[in-house]
Subunit: 131 residues, 2 copies
């Protein structure tokens, strides 16, 4: 039995044949769902650029987050495939966090969003009145 869920072959290089407004909106929503969570964006921006940080580094970088919450957010990001947890088997064990390639590849997209937000002031169209 063939399954063809996922025929949105949104191809990065220009075709995007099967992409309808509905599937595109759904795709963006699904992507954004991965970023939901009070601290995920901040954790991401701390790890962008190939940084490798220990749990305590992240705690220090984000003082407002509780240990429990940081653990939870990191675990979710790990499950989602954004964050990689590196366990060094030594005594005492050392655990570090970095982004996966896929997590790192989120950078241009967030960058595009920031650029877009920055354009806001320049593009304040007044409400238009037609004919």
């Amino acid at each position: 039995m063939t399954r063809t869920h996922e025929e949105v072959s949104y191809s990065p290089e220009g075709k995007r044949d099967a992409l309808t407004p509905t599937s595109a909106a759904q795709g963006v929503e699904d992507a954004l769902k991965i970023l939901e969570g009070r601290w995920k964006l901040l954790i991401l921006f701390h790890l962008f650029g190939g940084k490798v940080l220990r749990f305590s580094d992240l705690e220090r970088a984000i003082p407002a987050i509780s240990q429990k919450m940081l653990t939870q957010q990191l675990r979710q990001m790990e499950v989602d495939g954004i964050v990689r947890r590196i366990v060094h088997h030594q005594v005492p064990p050392k655990v570090e966090y970095c982004l996966t390639d896929w997590g790192q590849s989120l950078c241009p997209a967030l960058d595009a969003l920031l650029k877009w937000a920055a354009l806001r002031e320049m593009n304040s169209d007044p409400p238009a009145e037609g004919g």
Copy 2:
């Protein structure tokens, strides 16, 4: 006293000197807030590409949305500067909706998010174990 909390000059294009992880995350969150709302992404994708649609066109394109909700979402998007409402003074009056330049310029950012989501399968890093 100098504060040097993380001068992460996260700068793809060079400038953006003052961007810290905190301000970048906040910027992305602010941008995403504009897109929140059950139907906004879908409305956006219906209007991308310079489309000019009447209220009834949008109703037809998104059958699941109620009139009240469509009105509300469009109004919010208008207030946020994404959608432009064009009133043609004729009898009966004709009202059309399109994206502002700024709304249209959201396209590359959403596109980048879709591209990122599409990369997911290709980039499933296995959980790493270090030395």
